[in-house]
Amino acid sequence: MKFQKKSKVTSQIPQASLPDIVFMLLIFFMVSTVMKEHEGLKVQLPDAKEVKKLEEKRGAATIWADEAGRISIEDNIVQPSQLRDIVYKMVSDPLNPLKIVSLRGDKDIEFGRIAEIHEELRTVGGAALNINYSTLVEAD
């Protein structure tokens, strides 16, 4: 007995819409990507449990404070007293105004260093008062 070939449909996957799908994915990644802007200092972040995500990544300024007591912002190592001018410029930038300051401090530095940064940020005021101490998420 011979089997009949019933199907005469060509078995091809339509590829015409492939570029459209790929472009859609591409556009999603292009929009959602935030490139790393600045290199910081090497720090060992402290642990914490009650952490919050830093939502405003585009309007965030990052200040690094490492174990040796150096402070870095926007690829420059600065003295604490220079922070206010730099941060003030960022707050008053009309295109990309500062919304939050992310503070990446090494867990072994002295609190006095952090207090100096606080003092500078308080001098600037406004959006610079919103700070986020970067931490690692502590496992229970």
Binding site: A48, K52, L54, K57, I109, F111, H118, N130, Y133
Partner: protein
Amino acid sequence: MLLDKKKKGSAEIPTSSLADIAFLLLIFFLVTTTIATDKGISLTLPEKGQETKVRSKNITNILINAQGLIMMDEEQIDVSQISSQARQMLDVNENLIFSVKAVKGAKYETYIDVLDELKEANAPRISIAEPE
């Protein structure tokens, strides 16, 4: 005189490689995207020169010294007990302000631990005192 038609090629843009180009870009963005988000403890610092008088019964002082010892309301306390202690205090007085005061030589890690404990207790008002 008749001009020869030299061109006989079809005037179509080849689109077959479009997908390849798009994939290449896609892979580039996939690789460079950092999903890892920054996490941390958020806090709002007070405006400079802004001082508010608070009744002393509404303040709990938390002191941190250079040795990493913590004192809460005149009593030495372990870091892990701060949140439960703070929660009990907030039950009694919900307007309580926790004033964290660390000396200059205190470790940043201890300070973050204390803040973390207070956040865990849902303390609504945390104040950071400047070290002398």
